[in-house]
């Protein structure tokens, strides 16, 4: 049931999605990010890509696990805080970010089904927007097995055809929100499908970064663990969290008790994003830090994505969005790093 949505009918579709929280790209303070679309509003679908990745709809930067309270001499009282969010639709998800979500799903379900992640994830519907052209000179989705119109991880894929969108539901969640749109849509005709094909083919011809041999990277990384190149490549690194926090697949977290009141003792146990580039990430309680320098941390970031994740989940944990390259304050470039240390 592929559909056509005239651009002037977008707000009509949105208005029929009552009961859903709707988010979409918005340009504010000089950056694209997702923002709530208020009733009667429309998301801006002429965006490049958002700076903050879509992962935070299921894995927010701060998640409260439970609240605790204890009177002096009394028993501690714990209150569960599993989120119970409204169904949420996110518009304008780029196909690279769409591919990130099934990878995150593996992490939060492989050995243990994380109730906090899945409480949000199960309510989440991702409406993708195919890229007409690479939005940055650092795009490399095709080099890691994706494409500017990949459906992987998306519930709906929209393709911009100038005055209208081609709308293709992919999952049951996608079918549901398109069915809600009713007469906002027209049926897609064979001519529309030909045009979509042409748009997708054209997008694939846009200039992208490339990797010489994706399949060979994991073994090459295993070989180059002790390579002196790591030190050289990490020389300009300042050890900030830009690359990992903005990464759509980085999922490491820290857990802390945040005390808000001493008497009675009150507080929350919270999970926050953590970052393998920070000095305290691998610090032991003894004070010893096995990953003591930036070269070891860069190697960890790259190896996790292209070696350990491949070992564990049979796919790379990188979708080629290019954020870590474009936003790195000192030009550390994951494609260049792989081409330097991880080619057979």
């Amino acid at each position: 049931m592929e559909k056509i949505l005239r651009k002037e009918h977008l707000s009509e579709w949105l208005s029929l999605l009552d009961g859903y929280d709707i988010h979409g790209p918005a340009f504010a303070d000089g950056v694209w990010n997702y923002a709530r679309v208020e009733a009667g509003g429309e998301p801006a679908l002429d965006h490049t890509n958002t700076v903050r990745p879509v992962k935070e709809f299921a894995f927010p930067q701060r998640e409260v696990f439970f609240r605790f309270e204890q009177e002096k001499g009394g028993r501690p009282v714990l209150t569960a805080a599993v989120p119970d969010p409204k169904p949420t639709v996110v518009f304008g998800v780029r196909p690279c970010d769409g591919r990130a979500m099934p990878r995150n799903d593996k992490v939060f379900a492989a050995e243990f089904k994380d109730p906090y992640y899945w409480a949000r994830r199960d309510q989440l519907t991702l409406v993708g927007l195919a890229c007409a052209e690479p939005h940055s000179p650092n795009c490399f989705c095709m080099a890691v097995g994706g494409s500017p119109h990949s459906e992987d991880g998306l519930d709906v894929l929209m393709t911009d055809l100038g005055d209208r969108f081609h709308v293709k539901p992919i999952t049951a969640k996608g079918v549901e929100i398109v069915a809600r749109g009713r007469e906002a849509f027209d049926e897609a005709r064979p001519a529309d499908k030909t045009e979509v094909q042409r748009a997708h083919d054209m997008a694939e011809r846009g200039p992208q970064r490339s990797l010489t041999d994706l399949a060979g990277i994991a073994d090459a990384l295993r070989q180059s663990f002790d390579s002196p190149a790591w030190k050289e490549l990490a020389a300009p690194c300042i050890g900030c969290g830009v690359c990992t926090f903005l990464c759509p697949t980085c999922h490491c977290f820290d857990i802390n008790d945040e005390v808000t009141c001493q008497a009675p003792c009150k507080g929350e146990r919270v999970r926050t994003w953590d970052n393998c580039q920070f000095p305290d990430f691998t610090m032991h309680t003894s004070g010893h830090n096995p990953r003591d320098d930036l070269a070891a941390r860069l190697r960890q970031r790259i190896s996790h994505k292209f070696l350990y994740f491949v070992d564990n989940h049979k796919t790379q944990q990188c979708v080629g969005c290019g954020r870590c390259i474009s936003e790195c304050p000192v030009g550390i470039d994951i494609v260049n790093v792989l081409e330097t240390v991880a080619q057979p």
Partner: protein
């Protein structure tokens, strides 16, 4: 004009004669239009050194990094480092000298004059291009900058995309240098010192606080602003959880109850604590290289916080950080005529 061949030859000469162990400079990167910082250690490699309006980084940071590395090394290499420094970067070197972070003979400053121009501001460019990352930026003389995005090229007038710090620059020629490239230009056609801070002061206190809350609310706490700052050289930062010295006698309780000046959660309150602490620690020390603002992935106008304090230092004490390496630093000196109305 800075003749890059002459700068390269000078760098090669320093390395050939063994006067320095390396030259901190800029070279063309692989990640889009911006240069990347590099350390050249062989005379033959100096041909890669470059100089243009995308040389945004303040390389003084790497003098600090090297000092720390040598202090931690069992076999320290104490030979001096050479650094390519713009006006603002040289002020950072001057402050580090004032604060005795290293001695004058430990650094060779290769000064470059911005000659009435400056560097391009990523944030302004992003506003102009609505989030698109250009592939190339070229200085095109009086006409401004030629910016290539995808297949198209746009001319943008210099005043529209030069960094604010360049528009407000009070000393575009290095204050410390062993050898200077380019012409000394003291007066600038754009110059308007503290213009942005002055403009911000026009708003009421309530409006300003609302603005900063809005900004802190989107802080990711990636700490890129701190990590890139050459003045943030503390071995341990108050915001890291590595600030407790652990001995075999440290109990689990001590570790759990360590002072946490700001929590890991990126809440607006904790982010305000972080940014305001940093701003206060930079009072009278910030050289306005604008790096904190440049590296912020969500465009928080951090430079405003710091220039506000520099404005205070200038108006109250006629002090400008980094203007004179021989002068005592603001916080370590006292003059009879200093305003003291706050002592009662």
């Amino acid at each position: 004009m800075v003749k890059i061949e002459e700068l390269q030859a000078y760098a090669a000469e320093l390395l050939e004669k063994g006067q320095v162990k390396g030259v901190l400079g800029y070279r063309r990167g692989t990640a889009g239009p911006w240069v990347e910082p590099c350390t050249v250690t062989a005379a033959a490699d100096t041909a890669s050194l470059t100089w243009d309006p995308t040389c945004v980084n303040n390389l003084a940071l790497y003098l600090v990094k090297d000092k720390k590395a040598q202090a931690a090394s069992k076999t320290p290499d104490k030979r001096p480092l050479a650094i390519v420094a713009k006006g603002c970067d040289s002020r950072a070197v001057a402050v580090l000298l004032q604060e005795n972070y290293f001695k004058r003979d430990e650094v060779v400053v290769i000064g470059v004059s911005c000659e009435g121009s400056g560097v391009v501001d990523k944030r302004k460019l992003s506003e102009k291009l609505k989030g698109k990352t250009p592939a190339r930026i070229e200085f095109a003389g009086d006409d401004g900058f030629k910016v290539a995005v995808g297949k198209s090229e746009t001319m943008i007038p210099a005043a529209e995309i030069l960094a604010d710090r360049c528009l407000e620059c009070r000393a575009p020629s290095p204050t410390v240098s062993d050898k200077l490239f380019g012409e000394v230009v003291q007066e600038r056609s754009y110059a308007a010192p503290f213009a942005a801070a002055q403009a911000a002061e026009a708003a009421s206190e309530e409006e300003r606080w609302a603005q900063w809350q809005h900004h802190f609310d989107r802080c990711l706490r990636c700490f890129a602003c701190r990590s890139v700052c050459p003045m943030c050289y503390c071995p341990e930062c108050v915001v890291d959880s590595t600030t407790i010295v652990i001995t075999p006698q440290t109990t689990a309780e001590d570790k759990a109850n360590r002072i946490r000046w700001c929590e890991r959660s990126a809440t607006p309150a904790d982010s305000a604590v972080y940014h305001l602490t940093r701003a206060m620690h930079l009072a009278g020390r910030c050289v306005d290289c604008g790096e904190c603002e440049r590296v912020c992935p969500v465009n928080i106008p951090l430079r405003l916080l710091n220039t506000k304090l520099e404005k205070e230092a200038f108006e109250m004490f006629e002090y400008q950080a980094g203007q004179d390496a021989g002068q005592a630093s603001l916080m370590s000196s006292f003059r009879d005529e200093d305003p003291n109305g706050f002592i009662r």
